[in-house]
Amino acid sequence: MAIQIRSHLTASPNPTTLPRRIDFRQTLRSNMDEEEIVVVYQLDPDHQIWFVDGDGKPAKTIQRNLEVSRADQPVLTRITLQKGPGTGPLTLVEIDQTITDSSGIKIPDSCELGID
């Protein structure tokens, strides 16, 4: 019913050129044997870096549903990023992650991606 972050979100490759599919990794655990969670990745709405959603369209928010167990569980999420309209150029971009557990409690994580 609740989630803890055991190792923080990282992005790879980092730094990177865009467009590029980025691997986001972290390790989570639950206080239940199995727990459904919702993971939302968000980018600042004003700058020039965008996610690419499942339909190939630029997006500032990407959502993934995951299942987490009581044991430490490495999680890998692959999301493509690209440049689009917005302020820039950026040399670093912040990627925010919000995890919502099955009881509705939200916890944050984030990472920085260097842009070449």
Partner: protein, 591 residues
């Protein structure tokens, strides 16, 4: 490092005192070992160097003598170890109000400027610096700026690292996003630059292409050091989002999570069936050693204590504190660890309580565990541990979550601190490669303000008397004159012309040996020379004027003498009177 400029316009008074001191110093030197002079790198050379040799004390901002004029000046001084170059500028003024500050800014008089536009480079030999100045003008006041460049010493760079870390810590804390903007970077670099100047005591640092460069074309924080910046901003942003939350993302702050936990704890605490269960279990435990041992366990005893806690105690538990403790410092990794441990304990206690309640509600109706509990009580207890809506389940989840957040906070703080250390070390290395510039200024020093007076000796020829004799006299110039100055370069009329007052050495009187006397000397055997002349070389001069003597009345019956004059021409040597007393007759022809 910076001299003490004297902007009080009292240069000449200071010089008078200085001369006394120098005189005393020279007397003392007569009795000192000659080896001492050899140890002074700025001791004047024995031979004629062609320069006026002057020593400067850059710490005191003083010269060792009145500044010479009309001749090249070689200034010698010592600079701190590590100096890589020295250059000199000066400002001149006809008025004594000349003033220059420690940063080589001319304060007075208005319009005065440092010259030359390109500073004069000095020659550096270890810690001894020598620079040749162009001839200075007489009757002027001068102040000098010695611009010194040096590498930042390792020790200073090491001390600077700590200051740089503080600057980076404060500066990055102001960055509210993970995206360091060009302006934020420029501001941080500027603060580092100012801190570098502060640490080195320098006026300027040559920082082009370094992390201290605040120009737009060099942005090392967003370039070469981007990875280090990333390692600071990433944990900083995690910490910020944990502590502050983000309303636009629906993310609660840490204090909001703690408030929710407190509410859930209160809901558990306020449950009458739970209070009844606790009372009943404790009553039953008196007759049941097994139950007594179970309730005495760490987690269950803590859980049952929750049911007896007051509001303040519950609030402290929700904040991860114990009674008497100050609110946790959310910038302290150690306190974050303590918070995490407290939430772990709370989670374990709430989990044990939930397990106990589950045992009770799942126990047969005739079980001792359910003694004294009604069906409504059982239903209410079941509601407490309902995974979806039960306050006990919620409190347990929040304790687990808050433990995780506190651990995240601790790792974020540690990672950020380590990244700051790493970047500060790289900044230290950059600092050690930087050249810093500081200015040492002298006070207001004057060249000679006195008109020149020289001795004159030579031959005087009076055509009307058809005689020539030698004479000695004194030349009065109308300005200071430096006899060492080259007349071909500094040969203005005022430097050559002087009025002459003298006496003939031989008699101009005639007569004797049967010849009638027609003239006599003005005084005894000397007549007066009054005139003027021009130096044609440094010491040879020609002149003309009037010889004053006595003339006998042309009437042979009258033996009376009267004053009269006749013109003359002279060829003479212009002698330096002062040197007679300083250096003997050999220096008479010197400056």
């Amino acid at each position: 490092m910076v001299g003490s400029p004297r902007g009080d316009g009292l240069g000449s008074r200071f010089l008078a005192r200085d001369r006394v001191l120098v005189g005393a110093f020279l007397l003392a030197r007569l009795f000192s070992a000659s080896g001492a002079a050899a140890q002074d790198p700025c001791a004047p050379p024995a031979g004629d160097t062609g320069f006026a040799e002057v020593s400067v004390n850059l710490n005191a901002g003083t010269f060792n003598q009145v500044l010479p004029f009309d001749v090249p000046v070689r200034v010698c001084g010592t600079v701190p170890a590590g100096t890589t170059s020295v250059a000199v500028q000066y400002v001149a003024s006809k008025t004594a109000d000349l003033s220059i500050d420690q940063n080589c800014k001319v304060l007075a008089p208005p319009g005065a400027q440092l010259q030359p536009a390109t500073p004069i480079p000095a020659r550096l030999d270890g810690t001894t610096v020598r620079v040749i100045l162009p001839p200075l003008e007489a009757e002027r006041y001068y102040a000098f700026c010695f611009e010194r460049r040096a590498q930042v010493p390792e020790g200073v760079a090491a001390r600077f690292k700590m200051n740089a870390r503080d600057v980076l810590d404060r500066g990055f804390a102001q960055v509210g996003t993970g995206n360091l903007s060009p302006e934020q970077s420029r501001q941080l670099r500027n603060e580092l630059y100012q801190e570098l100047l502060e640490a080195t005591g320098a006026d300027i640092a040559i920082v082009q292409g370094t992390v201290f460069d605040t120009g737009t074309e060099y942005d090392e924080l967003r370039g070469k050091f981007r990875d280090q910046v990333q390692k600071i901003l990433a944990p900083q942003r995690r910490r910020d989002r944990i502590v502050e939350g983000n309303p636009s993302q629906g993310l609660p702050s840490l204090s909001e999570q703690q408030r929710d936990f407190n509410e859930a704890l209160n809901a558990v605490h306020d449950s009458p069936p739970l209070a009844g269960l606790a009372a009943q279990l404790e009553k039953n435990a008196q007759a049941d050693p097994t139950l007594q041992a179970m309730l005495a366990g760490k987690n269950l005893s803590a859980a049952l204590a929750l049911t007896r806690a007051d509001d303040d105690q519950l609030a402290l538990i929700a904040q991860g504190r114990e009674p008497g403790e100050a609110p946790p410092d959310l910038t302290s990794p150690d306190q974050a660890v303590t918070m995490a441990s407290r939430y772990d304990d709370s989670s374990a206690a709430l989990g044990s309580l939930a397990s106990l309640i589950r045992k009770v509600v799942d126990a047969p109706a005739a079980s001792n565990l359910r003694a004294g509990l009604s069906a409504d009580d059982i239903a209410a207890l079941r509601g407490l541990i309902d995974p979806a809506s039960g306050p006990l389940a919620k409190a347990n989840n929040l304790a687990f979550t808050l433990s995780g957040l506190a651990q995240d906070l601790q790792t974020s703080l540690v990672e950020r601190s380590a990244a700051l250390d790493s970047l500060a070390d790289k900044v230290r290395i950059e600092a050690a490669g930087v050249q810093v510039v500081d200015g040492s200024t002298t006070g207001n020093f004057a060249t000679s303000q006195s008109n020149y007076i020289s001795a004159d000796a030579g031959l005087v020829f009076a055509p009307e008397l058809s005689t020539g004799v030698s004479y000695v006299g004194v030349n009065f110039y109308f300005r200071p004159v430096n006899k060492n100055a080259d007349l071909s370069q500094f040969g203005s009329f005022s430097r050559r012309f002087a009025l002459t007052l003298g006496l003939t050495v031989q008699s101009l009187a005639d007569g004797g040996s049967g010849v009638a006397q027609t003239r006599d000397n003005l005084f005894g055997n000397q007549s007066l020379i009054l005139g003027g002349g021009l130096r044609v070389t440094n010491s040879l001069r020609v002149g003309t004027g009037a010889v004053v003597f006595k003339e006998r009345d042309p009437n042979p019956l009258v033996g009376k003498y009267s004053l009269t004059t006749t013109y003359y021409f002279t060829l003479s040597f212009d002698l330096n009177v002062a040197r007679v007393f300083q250096g003997g007759l050999g220096s008479l022809f010197g400056g």
